[in-house]
Amino acid sequence: MALLDQTADGAMGAAPPTAEQLADERSGERASWWQTAPLVIVLLLFFGLPMLVVLAVSFFDFSRTEIIPAFIFDNYVDLFRSQVTLRLYLSSLKFAAIVWLVTLVLGFNIAYFLVFHVRSLLWQIGLFLVCTVPFLTSNIIRMISWIPFLGRNGIFNQALEGAGITSQPLEFLLFSDFAVIVAYVHLFTLFMVVPIFNSMARIDKSLLEAARDAGAGRFRTVAEIVLPLSKTGIALGSIFVITLVMGDSFVVRTMSGGQSASVVSALQNEVAALQYPPAAASAVIMVIIVTLMVAGILRLVDVRKELAR
């Protein structure tokens, strides 16, 4: 819109802003402040502050009946010393990795289908909504709806036996790691689909045609063009899925029948037993680890330009 001015005497045009300009900017800034303030205040009150409280409490002492303000590292030491911690993290990480992989494959293909194979915009929106609507219904119901499906007398087993594929019900389907993963995938694939869909939709279709003209087959086109250009969406989706799985307690409790545990489900036990400081310490450690994972993903892919309009 405007050019850098270079007059004949060599003066560069970027002079310091005038008082009038500053006043204009300030009033715009002030308006933005009061517009974003309510939201920020609510988040600080109910998110920022509580997280700081958790951090503080993680250093507290506790007895059977109360928590005692203090500044001790015992909770952390106990965590690091305990074998259980390692086991829990391995369990959570295992779930996170498997679910991430499965939702990535599913999400990528579904997004690809919607963006590149569905031609009518109406169909695109319609099918997208079909995928999204379940997300807007109750998570618990969707989760437990797998129980009659996967149980020993459940639909799946009955169908298998009816078709003669198996003679005995498959036990591993329910109250197992398998069931946990199925439930996670069921609940969280959408979180992969949406960001990847977004990224893919921005790809200029003529890029694909140019690749085809240059002789690239379908697979090469996807590998060379679609995949790199969807990196941001994949990164965002991965962040969502990983944090959701790592932070979950309800799914792993229900679907594993108590056999598996996650960090957060153990934490929930501690809370129920009123052992707040250890729970807080556990939460802090978890947040640090997940933040490192998220930072790692963001290192790999620059997400900012897609989030900042």
């Binding site: 715009g28 800034e29 933005s32 517009q35 974003t36 309510p38 939201l39 920020v40 609510v42 988040l43 600080l44 009150l45 109910f46 920022g48 509580p50 997280m51 700081l52 409280v53 958790v54 409490v57 599913l106 579904i110 289908f113 194979h117 079909v130 995928c131 609507v133 379940p134 807007l136 219904t137 109750s138 998570n139 119901i141 437990i144 709806s145 009659p148 499906f149 149980g151 009955q158 069921h186 694939t189 279709k205 962040i239 944090t243 790592m246 932070g247 979950d248 307690s249 309800f250 229900t254 957060v264 934490l267 707040y276 729970a279 807080a280 939460a283 947040v287 997940v290 989030l307 309009r309």
Partner: protein, 282 residues
């Protein structure tokens, strides 16, 4: 560019089949539950259906053994409506504020994203602890509302980003040019044009609150939300009443979703109508 007669590559059918399976995967189990909720009075938790009845739906309203379903149901809807309203107002305002660059915008943005990603139980724990340390009681309209807002506000903000990103500012300039004051411009041009997005924010605010479990677990206070009731039921109920609850709550969700989507669709259609009706002469 694509002729409507152009044949589709085989990969299309492969993908379509894949997509169909996915949809089945998404909806299948839910449909199973709905069917099972009509289980006969003597039926169990799985197939086969032992007669068809509304017995378990009756059990919802009549038996107190299963907890306070009806009460939590009504309360949850009320809370969800409140959350929706608050989310809309705060998200729209903040979204408008983010249109300019301002000092602290990065902080506000990352605060919202962090609130989105933080596991709900941690947030709930933090709020409960904070109130406990302050000697206050957790309550429905204080901590319960606040905890749910930490989940819905980031969603609302992101939706507003998407909507405002596509919003052309020249409409607002035209309004100013024609003599509108700031308030008139907002009421006559900005708000109506953002309405579909606002409905979307309200939809998310309502449904996310209505189904929320992790954040409200420790912050709802003395009374349960519907999801909390359901959670309690999963551990100690062994009858299809659970399925009946599931069916009812999902129907409510569907009603809200369909209402929101049809109103958005109606608005969009009215405004975009006539792309085919272009006159041939200028």
């Amino acid at each position: 560019m694509h002729g409507s007669d152009e044949g589709r590559p085989w990969t299309f059918y492969a993908f379509a089949a894949f997509f169909g399976l996915f949809v089945l995967f998404l909806y299948g189990p839910m449909i199973v539950i709905y069917i099972l909720s009509f289980q006969g009075p003597n039926g169990g938790m799985t197939f086969p259906l032992n007669g068809v009845s509304l017995h378990w739906f009756n059990a919802l309203i009549s038996q107190t053994r299963v907890g306070d379903i009806a009460g939590s149901f009504v309360r949850s809807i009320g809370l969800a409506a409140l959350v929706a309203i608050v989310t809309v107002v705060l998200s729209v305002l903040a979204g408008l504020g983010f249109r300019r660059r301002f000092r602290g915008s990065a902080f506000a943005f990352y605060l919202a994203i962090a609130s989105l990603i933080m596991p709900g139980l941690f947030v709930g724990l933090g709020i409960a602890l904070a109130f406990r340390l302050l000697g206050l009681q957790t309550g429905w309209y204080t901590t319960g509302l606040g905890a749910q807002l930490t989940w819905t506000l980031p969603f609302g903000l992101l939706i507003m980003f998407a909507v405002l990103g596509r919003f052309n500012r020249s409409y607002e300039e035209a309004a100013t040019d024609l003599g509108a004051t700031n308030w008139q411009r907002f009421r006559e041009v900005t708000l109506p044009m953002l309405l579909p997005g606002i409905i979307g924010v309200a939809l998310f605010g309502f449904t996310l609150s209505y189904d929320e479990l992790a954040r409200t677990a420790l912050t709802a206070g003395a009374q349960n939300t519907l999801p909390l009731e359901i959670w309690a039921m999963t551990t100690n109920v062994t009858s299809p009443t659970l399925y009946a609850v599931g069916a009812v709550t999902t129907i409510v969700s569907f009603i809200v979703i369909i209402a929101a989507l049809t109103s958005i669709g109606a608005i969009q259609r009215r405004r975009a109508r006539g792309k085919q009706a272009e006159q041939s002469h200028g």
